[in-house]
Symmetry: C2
Subunit: 255 residues, 2 copies
């Protein structure tokens, strides 16, 4: 049983309007990868967001009263705080350096996933240029999946990931934020172990595990490897949504 992850080379800086599925398809040729059923592509959110035009300039942001209030506790630019608020359902914690939120997409993350590193300004002041997460990463993944399946004639999965921090543990890890065609969560409820006991562990966040695996190859200091090809994913492909991974607030012990 083997899992092979290959960073696709030759995918350069992505800009607003670029067609990611065409770019990935073309890169497969030079990377000598021939798709087979059950292959998966893991794609960093940054290139998806850029292709979808999710760049925002702080100079265009009007600061609300709530953002001003939060800027008393946070070191962040009030206009950035305003962007974070607009992308969030709820603020969980504010410290000097971190604003932890429930993102409008339903997961908990820092700064609503809004990023500044490796964001080149397409116009205007690069210091004031920030990148939002894709509007709907599940839908972004579905579109790329559909296009690549049409080109290849194979049944594949697409996973869009971000690098996120965790409670309790140092360091960020690759984390699923959008999924199409592969299971986000594997449900083992009712299954028995080797000795006939019901399993203690009943749900496996397979998409998050794959996100972390692919993240190892993408690196953080550049975006030269924004797409990773995966062969040997051990679970059956199926329709899915990132919502499977969001723990409902009322079941969450740590808010």
């Amino acid at each position: 049983m083997q899992l092979t992850l290959t960073a696709i080379s030759g995918i350069l800086l992505i800009k607003n309007g670029d067609n990611l599925s065409n770019i990935i398809w073309d890169a497969l040729l030079t990377n000598q990868i021939q798709l087979i059923d059950n292959d998966i592509f893991v794609i960093t959110q940054k290139v998806v967001s850029k292709a979808e035009g999710r760049l925002v300039y702080l100079s265009n942001v009007q600061v609300s009263k709530q953002a001003k209030e939060i800027s008393k506790t946070s070191n962040k630019d009030p206009r950035l705080i305003e962007l974070i608020l607009r992308e969030s359902k709820e603020i969980l914690r504010v410290t000097e350096n971190h604003i932890i939120v429930e993102h409008r997409l339903g997961f908990v993350c820092a700064n609503a996933g809004i990023d500044h590193s490796n964001v080149s300004s397409e116009h205007g002041n690069p210091d004031e240029c920030f990148l939002l997460l894709p509007e709907n990463p599940d839908l972004s993944a579905q579109k790329i999946k559909k296009a690549l399946e049409e080109k290849s004639g194979k049944k594949i999965g697409i996973l869009i990931i971000d690098s996120q921090g965790r409670a309790w543990r140092n360091g960020i890890i690759g984390t699923a934020i959008g999924v199409a065609g592969l299971p986000a969560l594997i449900d083992l409820r009712g299954k028995e172990d080797l000795f006939g006991f019901k399993l203690r562990i009943t749900q496996v966040a397979a998409a998050d595990e794959l996100a972390s695996a692919a993240s190892l190859l993408m690196g953080q200091a550049d975006e030269k490897r924004p797409v990773v090809h995966v062969r040997g994913f051990p679970y059956h492909l199926r329709d899915s949504s990132i919502r499977e991974l969001n723990r409902p607030k009322e079941q969450d012990l740590f808010r």
Copy 2:
């Protein structure tokens, strides 16, 4: 750039006193794997704990006053609660089904990592048989590393993992609990991105990412694949400790 994970076949049920490094070494032959420098083995804690004799029988456990108190809130057997307390520094949350603790090893997890599934009783009632995490997983990893390096003449890494839940997200993922010879945390502080900006993300939990990757191949419903061989880990091997991943309590916003 490629990362290849291979589940080692033929490693069967492990029992108290088994020599894991010998067992892995012998399995490499039948799996036709020849080690090279920078190869890594990821090993589930369950086989390490079994080899180290960490099975405990509830019938031998004296229940303390604190465990009795907690059993008013929790559905768990008071003797199991007692075991959880003994393996923990601090109780974070108690609900009917979960006891979230800071483990004596410094990380936060459910039920102090004490497991019942796939635990076969070596004597006595199997229903009352539980498996504790290894006494010192970093040390367990170091010993296996040393033995396999002596056999192979190659410089390798060893990662011991468990399946753990997270705040905010459904499902468990493979998580590092012991490490030898590979970096637990990658420090990118001071590094710059493609456009000369200081990176927002400064620390990457590489060992956790690799734990999740390997966990995909191990499955949960059996332990037929407790060891995964890794080739192509993209970071330099170095001495390390799982302590790198434990966020200090005073820096943790979610306790």
